[in-house]
């Protein structure tokens, strides 16, 4: 008995391996968690320096429209009004989402309701390719086609919110589509069958039943698309014109948070106010991304199908 008891209670290679393995796996996971915390900590500490050490008021930062951190304005404080960039970022984000949504809904409906087999077969690769094209390539095409076309039609330089919107439209389209496809698939089958059995046409069943049931899913998908648009840097930067001015129309050069960041960080000196002001912009980006995440979570909690 003692022999077998010893055999059954002593640690074996397996238990040791398991302990090491669990630790290794935990450390990997912990590293990712640590990474997220340090990103927020570092960007926040840099970004907040503008307000605490640079003595810029947060309100001025968010509402003033003069962005010229290197120079001191008449009243003795550097001009760090981020309003033009904030307006620029929100404009391209909202406009591209508005433009993309009808297309994304159509794509998703085509893939799930109208031609599930064929649509899935042909449109799935379309979506994957649109996702796969790198953002600099979108920027390049925007620069060589969209900007000249806008210039030819509306005059001006062609750079601006409109060009940025059109480029982002194509970039967020696959994001919204594929997420919405998932939520359409989650609409229980009998919803449709019930509608069709009552003599509804396909469109009536889609419009009255499927679309309504999937509204939370659609909102989630759009928010994800907006998050992507808001954070996209290079493609937008290449076509928006990079002028830190409050845009007056859709075709005058403008800028976004990301475009100012990509062009500015290399031209400022670490630790100075102009540099810290850029980190404040990065902090806004970070908080917005967090905000989009929270929003998705809130919607997700309410819109789940109860089984």
């Amino acid at each position: 008995m003692d022999e077998i008891k010893r055999q059954l209670t002593k640690a074996s290679k397996a238990t040791r391996q398991d302990r090491y393995g669990k630790w290794i796996a935990f450390i990997c996971t912990f590293l990712i968690g640590l990474l997220v915390v340090s990103i927020f900590y570092l960007v926040a500490s840099k970004g907040l320096a503008t307000f605490f050490r640079g003595h810029i008021s947060l309100w001025d930062f968010l509402t003033h429209q003069d962005w010229n951190p290197g120079q001191v304005s008449k009243n003795g404080v550097p001009s760090v009004g981020a309003l033009p960039m904030i307006v620029g970022s929100f404009s391209v984000t909202v406009l591209s989402a508005i433009l993309a949504t009808p297309f994304a809904i159509s794509m998703a409906l085509f893939m799930t309701e109208i031609a599930p087999k064929r649509g899935q077969r042909f449109l799935q690769p379309v979506i994957e390719l649109l996702v796969g094209i790198p953002s600099v390539v979108y920027g390049f095409v925007g620069l060589t086609i969209i900007v000249p076309v806008i210039r030819a039609i509306f005059g001006g330089t062609g750079f601006g919110i409109l060009a940025g919107t059109l480029v982002l439209f194509v970039m967020v389209l696959p994001t919204i589509t594929s997420m919405y496809v998932d939520s359409l698939r989650a609409v229980p089958r009998f919803y449709r069958e019930a509608a069709l059995a009552l003599g509804a046409t396909r469109w009536q069943s889609i419009y009255k039943v499927v679309l309504r049931a999937s509204i939370p899913g659609l909102l989630t998908a759009i928010i994800f698309g907006m998050a992507r648009a808001f954070g996209e840097a290079l493609a937008v930067q290449m076509v928006i014109g990079n002028a830190s001015l409050l845009p007056h129309n859709l075709i005058s050069p403008a800028s976004t948070l990301t475009s100012v960041l990509t062009t500015g960080i290399g031209n400022t000196v670490m630790g100075t106010l102009p540099n810290n002001a850029l980190w404040s912009l990065a902090l806004i980006l970070l908080l917005m991304s967090l905000g989009f995440n929270l929003l998705v979570r809130l919607i997700g909690r309410q819109g789940r199908f109860t089984k």
């Binding site: 397996a14 290794i24 796996a25 990712i32 390049f140 095409v141 620069l143």
Partner: protein, 295 residues
């Protein structure tokens, strides 16, 4: 109006919008390939770029892109695998695990430019690694980790629970069960995820501008000493990738043939991503068939 007519109109509008999207994609790819491919030649793919003259190639950038890709995968795959295994097998169901999951979700949705700036701040400036392949690979790892971790966890979870029980019932530890039984069966999904992430890494530029840098020192491909500054293997040197190159010459390029070079480089980039996508699908199917022994 008659419900049937509305039905027809609605279907027509939907089909029309779908057609427009397909047309956009075809035009996009067609444009890039038609304007770009004529510039793509062996010379273009292998010779160094020119700053002021025409006739420059993308040889160094292409090499840098692949080198960064491999380094990034070498760093990020083990970490993502470890984290994926932890979340799949060991993570207790409590608020800590939930918080970690949310953190991973948040990380995956962070703008890549922010991830790049963080890498810049921490590695380029604080740790004084400078603009270097190493800084770039670390930034790309940050960018890649959340999605890869999630796909690995999903692939592991898609293996039937029974397989896990089979391993455990034979006296395997949980670690052995995951590595020896579940991992091999999840391999098709994991490989597909890796290749798709390779496509994302290959095309990423925003995270690299301030980490791997925007300059490509001329490389001497006969010099394989990793500590020499002209050696392609040296990972402390700055390294402009293909994607960064496209951005750079379009933002501030002054060579006369900037547009042709970007078109050619874009075509190469698109082709690479296409190849990644197709091979992911092909390899996934092939291994799946081999593993499940179905013909």
């Amino acid at each position: 109006m008659n419900a049937k007519i509305i039905d027809k109109i609605a279907t027509a509008i939907i089909s029309l919008l779908v057609g427009v999207v397909v047309l956009i994609l075809v035009a996009l790819i067609g444009y890039i390939l038609f304007t770009g491919l004529p510039h793509v030649s062996w010379h273009f793919l292998t010779s160094p770029s020119q700053a002021f003259l025409s006739g420059g190639g993308i040889g160094d950038q292409l090499f840098n892109s692949f080198y960064l890709l491999i380094l990034t995968l070498l760093i990020s795959f083990p970490i993502a695998l470890g984290a994926g295994i932890y979340l799949f097998e060991y993570a207790p169901k409590n608020w800590v695990t939930n918080t970690i999951r949310v953190a991973i979700e948040v990380l995956s949705s962070l703008p890549s430019v922010v991830v790049g700036l963080f890498g810049f701040l921490l590695f380029v400036v604080e740790f004084q690694l400078g603009f270097s392949i190493l800084s770039g690979a670390i930034a790309l790892t940050f960018f890649n980790l959340p999605l890869l971790t999630r796909s690995i966890e999903t692939s592991l979870s898609s293996v039937p629970k029974l397989q896990r029980e089979a391993g455990l019932a034979l006296g395997f530890s949980r670690w052995q069960t995951v590595l020896g039984v579940i991992f091999p069966e999840a391999l098709p999904g994991i490989l597909t995820a890796i290749i798709l992430s390779a496509g994302r890494i290959f095309g990423e530029a925003a995270a690299l501008i301030y980490t791997a840098g925007q300059s490509a020192p001329v490389l001497n491909f006969a010099n394989w000493n990793p500590f020499s500054p002209t050696s392609p293997l040296n990972f402390m040197r700055p390294a402009e990738t293909l994607a960064v190159h496209i951005w750079k010459i379009n933002s501030e390029g002054i060579m006369p043939d900037a547009s042709a070079v970007s078109a050619g480089a874009s075509a190469v980039l698109i082709l690479a991503v296409l190849i990644f996508n197709v091979s992911a699908r092909w390899l996934g199917n092939r291994i799946y068939r081999k593993v499940t022994a179905s013909k």
